[in-house]
Each structure stands twice: as structure tokens, then as C-alpha cells.
């Protein structure tokens, strides 16, 4: 089927900005040779737990982030194409956007370049969200897996972010931004917005977004953080991985279409749903795949809001068990630890690595290793209380008595620390979809030149 217009070519550079140190000049340079219309990178907004949002701390090593930003900026500058980066810092908080902006400015100063940037902030106030709640915009029908949102949970949140769709990003590009640093955003929206800005239709644009959001994970063998190029056409998308050892196949793209979603057939996002029931997948050659037939339907405007709130302070103790009799007697020993430490006012969670730590209650294999590691986590209102509770756990394990005991030197093997102070700990307070009147209004965009011209 001939295309109606020239395809839009996107370079997906990575699905995880700053996640690891960048490998020098691998697939990214090959991708630049393909003359893409734009470069897009997602900053690894995969569900990383509530800690980083609640504490608003960096998820990655800052130097790795800076190195990634540098190569992305250099590539975009060389080709004179826009660069779009989203969910800055992983959590997309305002501080994380500013952190990326500072790095971009510093790179700009060194390069003698002033990048025309758009910073799109996504944090929300408790008042705004409670207002939406009063308007009946966050009912349990919208987010069925969770209890309904409450004002108390909003107030218990230390940070709240709205997850933006394509709309604010598209607007920023239309206003002339050449580097977009977006706060918390739907992974696919970064790519979809950029594709639509370049002229693609929504169906293929959102399909491209879903396929590209983790860059090289759409291809096989499994490699993180390498580049993929997509041609977005009138009725679909053609993908090609840029790392020589990788190829896209039916199964590799199928795996990506299913990745981190409840179903491969429908992808809901702010303002619309991508229907893939009629999708056709064709392997064009030994490394390129074409996907055709996406349908995009607009829906009532709504965004997901994420929030995390502090629950206290956390401490850990790690103990090794090697005596077969101690290992066999763990359950009553741990029950006593839980009871006594719990009575002291701390919350306690115990995981036994080598038995069932990884799968917990879902573990069907009832075999225990010849050695295990007992990891005790305590949570309490103050760090001192959490530490004391962890220390108590450790001492109880050390002095544990069990049937068949032959030793008197200590019932566990200890590492150097009696306990490890883990700092404040958080829980999800908000993880709800919220109706909004307008998909751009919750997000604040600033246009700024970052760097200095030579």
C-alpha cells in the first residue's frame, strides 16, 4: 500500500536515560546516520516504587545522566532536530526537571550553544487534587483496582505528579522548543507527541510510542539502552534496531506491545485509547518489522496522578543461617522476633532469601537451601526507633535457641553492621485516574534558553 505522505522518522535513543553509564558510540551513531526527524528518550519511568517520588531523590547516578544528556544533545545539535526527554529523573518531579535543565545549561555553556528549551512541570498541589475529588472526578469506577481516592490520602502525600500525555509536549514543540524536558509523562506520549508534531496521524504515532518507549527492548536479543529507528507511515510503523547484533521479529515486537500493560489490545492514555485489535504484524526482512492497522479513539480527558507519602523510618538487619537445625527451626524463631519487635511499636517485615524471599506467599517450591539469609526490615516513627527495633531483631536471632542446638557461639552469621539505617520510607498514597477539563492545564510549561551562545 503506497504511503500518502513521507514517513516521519524517529530515533528512540533509550528507554532509560541515566540508568547505566553510556557505552561509547554504539548504536546511537548508526541511528544518527539515518537522518531522523527527531530524537526521543524516556528517562526510565518504570514503576520504581514510592521511595523516589516520596523523598524526591535522584533515582540514577547524576554523572550517568549528564553523560547521556550530553550525547543526546550533541546528536540533536549535529542533525538540527528536536530532542524530547520525558519523566526526567525517573519520577518527573519539578526538582528532577530542574536538575536536567541545569545539566543541559552546563553542557550548553561548554559547547557555546544556547538550546531553546521547554521545561514542562508535572507536580500537583494537594488543593488541586482535593478540588478534583470534590468534583467527583476520581471515583472508584475509574480506577477499579484500588480503594477510592480520599482527601486524607491526598494530605498524606509528600509529592504528587500528574502523568502528562502528548498534549503539553506537542504544544511545546509547536511553540518552537528544540529541547523538551518533560516531568512525569506517559512513556509512549513522548514519542507520539513528537511524531504528531512532525505530521504523523495519531494511530500510528501512539503505536510508535508504545513500540519505542523502551528503545532496544523491542528487538532481540535483550540489550538495554540502544537505539531504534522507526518510520511512521500513514497506516503503521516500520521498526529497525540500530545495534548490529539486534533484530526486530514478530515475537520481539509482540513482547514489547505487552510490556508492563494489562493487555496488548488496548492502550489507554490521556484523552484517548489506542485500539490494536486489528493489528497486522509483518516481518519485512531479517531485522525489520512493519505493524499496520492501529486505530486511535478520543476519550474523555483524564490523567493518572501518582503520589507517595512518608510512613516512617526504616532500618535493616541481615543475618546468615547455616546450621541445618536453625534453618529448620526458622518459623518459630521468626514468629518470636515479629511478636517482640512488633510489641515495641515498630512494623517489622522478614524475608528469608534461599527459601521464599523473592516470591513470598506465592512460592510453590517448599525447599530451603543449605544456607539462608534472613533480612529483617523495621519501620518506626523515628530513625532511632527503627534502628533499635532492627538491633533487637539481630540480637534475638543471634541468641535464638532451637531444637538440636550444638553451638554456643551464636546462632547466626553476622556481617559488619548490626543494622543498616535506611532512612525515610514511603508508600503509594495516590495512584488514581482523575478526570480533568483540559489535558494541558495541569502542566506548567516554561520556555527558556539554556546554555550560552559562543
Amino acid at each position: 500500500m503506497p504511503f500518502q505522505q513521507a514517513p516521519v522518522r524517529l530515533l528512540a535513543a533509550t528507554g532509560a536515560v541515566g540508568f547505566t553509564p553510556p557505552d561509547p558510540a554504539r548504536s546511537f551513531d548508526a541511528a544518527l546516520e539515518m537522518s531522523p526527524d527527531a530524537i526521543v528518550a524516556d528517562a526510565g519511568s518504570a514503576d520504581i516504587g514510592p521511595l523516589f517520588l516520596g523523598a524526591d531523590v535522584a533515582y540514577n547516578d547524576l554523572e550517568w545522566e549528564r553523560l547521556d544528556l550530553e550525547r543526546l544533545l550533541d546528536g540533536a545539535q549535529r542533525l538540527d532536530v528536536p530532542l524530547v526527554i520525558g519523566s526526567c529523573g525517573g519520577t518527573g518531579t519539578d526538582r528532577a526537571v530542574d536538575s536536567y535543565a541545569e545539566m543541559v545549561a552546563e553542557i550548553g555553556r561548554r559547547r557555546g550553544v544556547a538550546y531553546p528549551c521547554a521545561l514542562i512541570y508535572s507536580e500537583q498541589s494537594a488543593d488541586w487534587l482535593k478540588g478534583r475529588l470534590r468534583d467527583g472526578a476520581a471515583t472508584s469506577e475509574i480506577t477499579p483496582l484500588l480503594p477510592p481516592l480520599s482527601a486524607e490520602e491526598v494530605d498524606a502525600s509528600d509529592h504528587l505528579v500528574g502523568v502528562m500525555g502528548a498534549q503539553p509536549i506537542l504544544a511545546a514543540l509547536e511553540r518552537g522548543a528544540r529541547v523538551v524536558l518533560a516531568g512525569r509523562a506517559c512513556d509512549d506520549a513522548l514519542f507520539a507527541a513528537t511524531a504528531m508534531w512532525a505530521g504523523a496521524k495519531p494511530g500510528p504515532a501512539y503505536l510508535a510510542g508504545k513500540l519505542l518507549e523502551n528503545a532496544s527492548l523491542v528487538a532481540e536479543p535483550f540489550v538495554l539502552r540502544e537505539s531504534v529507528v522507526a518510520d511512521i507511515e500513514d497506516d503503521g510503523v516500520v521498526l529497525e534496531p540500530m545495534l548490529a547484533i539486534q533484530r526486530c521479529t514478530r515475537s520481539s515486537v509482540a513482547a514489547q506491545l505487552m510490556y508492563e500493560r494489562g493487555t496488548p489490545f488496548e492502550q489507554s492514555g490521556p484523552g484517548g485509547v489506542l485500539d490494536l485489535r486489528g493489528l497486522e504484524i509483518e516481518e519485512l526482512d531479517d531485522r525489520r518489522v512493519a505493524l499496520r492497522g492501529p486505530v486511535y479513539r478520543e476519550t474523555a480527558p483524564a490523567i493518572k496522578v501518582e503520589g507517595a507519602g512518608k510512613v516512617g523510618y526504616r532500618s535493616l538487619s541481615i543475618a546468615g543461617c547455616r546450621d541445618p537445625k536453625m534453618v529448620a527451626a526458622l518459623d518459630p524463631v521468626l514468629a518470636e522476633v515479629r511478636e517482640r519487635v512488633g510489641a515495641s511499636g515498630a512494623e517489622v517485615a522478614i524475608s528469608v532469601f534461599g527459601r521464599d524471599a523473592v516470591m513470598g506467599p506465592l512460592e510453590p517450591v517448599k525447599v530451603t537451601g543449605h544456607e539462608v539469609a534472613v533480612v529483617v526490615e523495621t519501620v518506626a516513627p523515628t530513625q532511632e526507633q527503627a534502628n533499635t527495633a532492627a538491633l533487637l531483631s539481630k540480637r534475638m536471632l543471634f541468641s535464638a535457641r532451637y531444637p538440636g542446638q550444638k553451638q554456643s557461639g551464636g546462632s547466626i552469621a553476622s556481617t559488619i553492621d548490626e543494622y543498616l539505617e535506611a532512612g525515610p520510607t514511603y508508600r503509594w498514597t495516590v495512584n488514581h485516574v482523575v478526570d480533568v477539563p483540559d489535558l494541558e492545564a495541569p502542566f506548567r510549561t516554561e520556555l527558556r534558553e539554556l546554555g550560552t551562545p559562543a
Binding site: A46, D47, I48, G49, P50, L51, L145, L146, R250, S251, V253, A254, A255, L257, M258, Y259, E260, R261, G262, T263, P264, F265, L279, E280, I281, V311, R314, E347, A349, I350, S351, F353, A357, V358, M359, G360, P361, L362, P364, V365, E377, V379, T425, Y426, R427, W428, N431
Partner: protein
């Protein structure tokens, strides 16, 4: 009889949001996919039994014909990142699926 691990190209688990985990089982060709689909090996009941969870905790079992793949979504026992979390991403929860028997 063959084990699912011998027949599948990929068997993965990962969170879909903070409250559910999904298992992705991908095959290399439509024949092997069809064999597993026709034998009704992957069902809400078989998954619930393998994991010792109530069948209502299996939220969806989806046959993705175009991709020669299955997706299963289950409720997480607790939200990701809760105290005592040992698998924040839900990336290591698929082991019981490896041993599913396929006629």
C-alpha cells in the same frame, strides 16, 4: 509432554502499574503457540493453582494471536515498594510458569 520453558521463546514477569503483575509468554511460531492455546494450558485456574492464589486474583488471561503470545495479569499481594518488598519491578515472579506441562 513438554515443559513450557522448552516451548516458549520468552517467559517474563513485570509490574503493570504498582498493583498488578503480568506474565508474558511469547512463542517463536504460530504452530507452537497454537499447540499451547488449543491444549488450554494457560488459564485462570491453572495460574491460580500454580501460584496458590484465589482464582479471582487472576485479572486477565489474554491470547494475543498476532503476536503468538499470551498475557496473564494477576493482582500483586501488596503494592510495589511496600515494606518488606523483595521484587520492586515484579521481574522474578514467573518461575512456576516454566514447569507448566504441554501435551
Amino acid at each position: 509432554m513438554a515443559r513450557l520453558a522448552e516451548l516458549a521463546k520468552e517467559i517474563s514477569s513485570k509490574n503493570a502499574g504498582a498493583f498488578s503483575i503480568t506474565f508474558d509468554i511469547v512463542f517463536d511460531d504460530p504452530e507452537t503457540y497454537g499447540r499451547v492455546k488449543d491444549a488450554k494450558v494457560i488459564t485462570a485456574e491453572s495460574v491460580a493453582a500454580a501460584y496458590g492464589m484465589p482464582v479471582d486474583d487472576v485479572l486477565a488471561v489474554i491470547a494475543f494471536d498476532q503476536g503468538n503470545a499470551f498475557k496473564v495479569a494477576v493482582r500483586r499481594t501488596r503494592p510495589s515498594g511496600s515494606v518488606g518488598e523483595t521484587d520492586v519491578f515484579g521481574a522474578q515472579q514467573y518461575a512456576p510458569l516454566l514447569d507448566f506441562e504441554v501435551p
